[in-house]
C-alpha cells in the first residue's frame, strides 16, 4: 500500500493550514498564473467564482425565460399576432401551454405553432378582443380556418 497523504501530514505547519489551503487550491486548479499558485490571490478568486455560481443558478432561469420570449414573439410575428395576444387567446381558449413548450413548438414544430396562433387569433376575434399594442402591419401569413369548425368549441364557456 502506498500512503500518499503521509508526506503531506508531516509537512503540515499549523493544525490544518495545509488542508485548509488545499481545499481552495483544488478549486483553483484550472486557473491561470498567480491565481492558481498564490493562496492569497487564489482564495479571492475562488470566493468570487462561488458567489457567481450561486447567483448564476437564478440568472440562468431568467435568461432562458428571455430567450423563450424572444423566440415566441419571433414566431408570433410570422403569423400576424403579437406575443401578448397569443398568450391571451390561448388562455381564453383554455390551452395551458407554457413559454417553454410554446417556444419549443415554435422552433421545432412550426406547423403546430401555426395552428395555435390561428386558434388564438380566432378566439380573440370571437371575443371581440382588441390588442392595443398591435401595429396592424402584417408581415406574416394567416392560416385559413374557414373550413374547420372551431367557432362552437371556442364559443363555449370555460
Amino acid at each position: 500500500m502506498v500512503f500518499l497523504t503521509i508526506a503531506n501530514l508531516i509537512r503540515c505547519r499549523g493544525p490544518d493550514e495545509f488542508w485548509r489551503k488545499r481545499k481552495i487550491f483544488r478549486l483553483a486548479a484550472h486557473y491561470i498564473g498567480r491565481r492558481r499558485n498564490c493562496y492569497s490571490v487564489a482564495v479571492r478568486n475562488v470566493h468570487h467564482a462561488l458567489v457567481y455560481a450561486t447567483k448564476a443558478r437564478r440568472l440562468k432561469k431568467q435568461d432562458m425565460k428571455d430567450l423563450w420570449d424572444t423566440r415566441i414573439s419571433a414566431a408570433c410575428e410570422q403569423h400576424n399576432i403579437t406575443a401578448f395576444s397569443m398568450r391571451e387567446g390561448l388562455e381564453r381558449s383554455n390551452i395551458l401551454l407554457d413559454r417553454k413548450s410554446l417556444s419549443d413548438l415554435a422552433a421545432w414544430e412550426p406547423k403546430t405553432f401555426q395552428c395555435l396562433a390561428a386558434v388564438a387569433s380566432r378566439k380573440l376575434h370571437l371575443d371581440g378582443f382588441i390588442d392595443g399594442t398591435d401595429q396592424k402591419a402584417p408581415t406574416g401569413k394567416n392560416l385559413n380556418l374557414d373550413n374547420v369548425i372551431l367557432d362552437d368549441w371556442l364559443k363555449e364557456k370555460k
Binding site: L67, T70, R71, I72, A74, E77, Q78, A107, P110, T139
Partner: protein, 178 residues
C-alpha cells in the same frame, strides 16, 4: 451527417437579404427593427450564440427624418484620446459629411455591446441614395416594412391638382401672406 441533413442545415442557416427604405423614417425607431433582422431575432430558432442573422440593405439614408429639433439639437460625441480631444458634432453636420453615419450609429447603439456587435454591423449595408450595386441587389429577396408611410410633399403634387383642391375659405384681398 447525411447529404439531406446537410442541405437542411444550409437551408436553415442561409442568410436572407432584406432591403429597408429609410426615406422619411426615424433612424432611432427603425434601428430597433433593423437590429432584429441583423441579429436573427425574427426567427424562432434565435439564440445569441448561433449565427442566424440576416443581411440588411438600407437605401435612401440621405432622406431620414429626425424628430422635432433634433437636426440642430442632437450632438455626436467623439474623443481623439488626447487631452482636449473631445468634440461634439451636430446631427446636421454629421449628416452633411456622411449621409450614412446617423442610421449606422443608431443601429450600432441599439445593440448590446458585445464581441458580436461589430461582426453583426458588417452585415448591414447602407446607401445614401436609391442606387445599389447590381451584385448586391440581386441577392435581395425581402423588403422590411417601413415604420410609417412616406408623406407626399405639397410641392411634389402637380400644381393644377393643388389648384383644383376644394378650399375652406379664400384669403381676403388685402391679406398679407408672410
Amino acid at each position: 451527417m447525411s447529404a439531406a441533413k446537410r442541405v437542411q442545415q444550409w437551408a436553415t442557416f442561409a442568410r436572407t437579404w432584406h432591403i429597408f427604405d429609410c426615406k422619411w423614417q426615424d433612424p432611432y425607431l427603425s434601428a430597433n427593427v433593423i437590429k432584429k433582422y441583423l441579429m436573427g431575432m425574427h426567427k424562432p430558432i434565435y439564440h445569441p450564440m448561433n449565427d442566424c442573422g440576416d443581411v440588411v440593405v438600407c437605401i435612401n439614408s440621405r432622406d431620414i427624418a429626425l424628430r422635432g429639433d433634433d437636426w440642430r439639437q442632437r450632438a455626436y460625441f467623439h474623443h481623439t484620446g488626447y487631452p482636449g480631444g473631445a468634440s461634439w458634432t451636430l446631427a446636421w453636420e454629421v449628416h452633411n459629411k456622411d449621409p450614412t453615419m446617423i442610421i449606422k450609429k443608431a443601429v450600432y447603439r441599439s445593440m448590446k455591446g458585445n464581441l458580436q456587435r461589430r461582426h453583426t454591423m458588417q452585415r448591414m449595408l447602407i446607401y445614401p441614395g436609391e442606387e445599389v450595386p447590381e451584385d448586391i441587389m440581386q441577392n435581395v429577396t425581402n423588403q422590411i416594412r417601413q415604420l410609417r408611410p412616406v408623406p407626399t410633399r405639397l410641392d411634389h403634387i402637380p400644381e393644377d391638382e393643388v389648384k383644383k383642391y376644394p378650399k375652406v375659405m379664400e384669403y381676403p384681398e388685402d391679406y398679407v401672406l408672410k
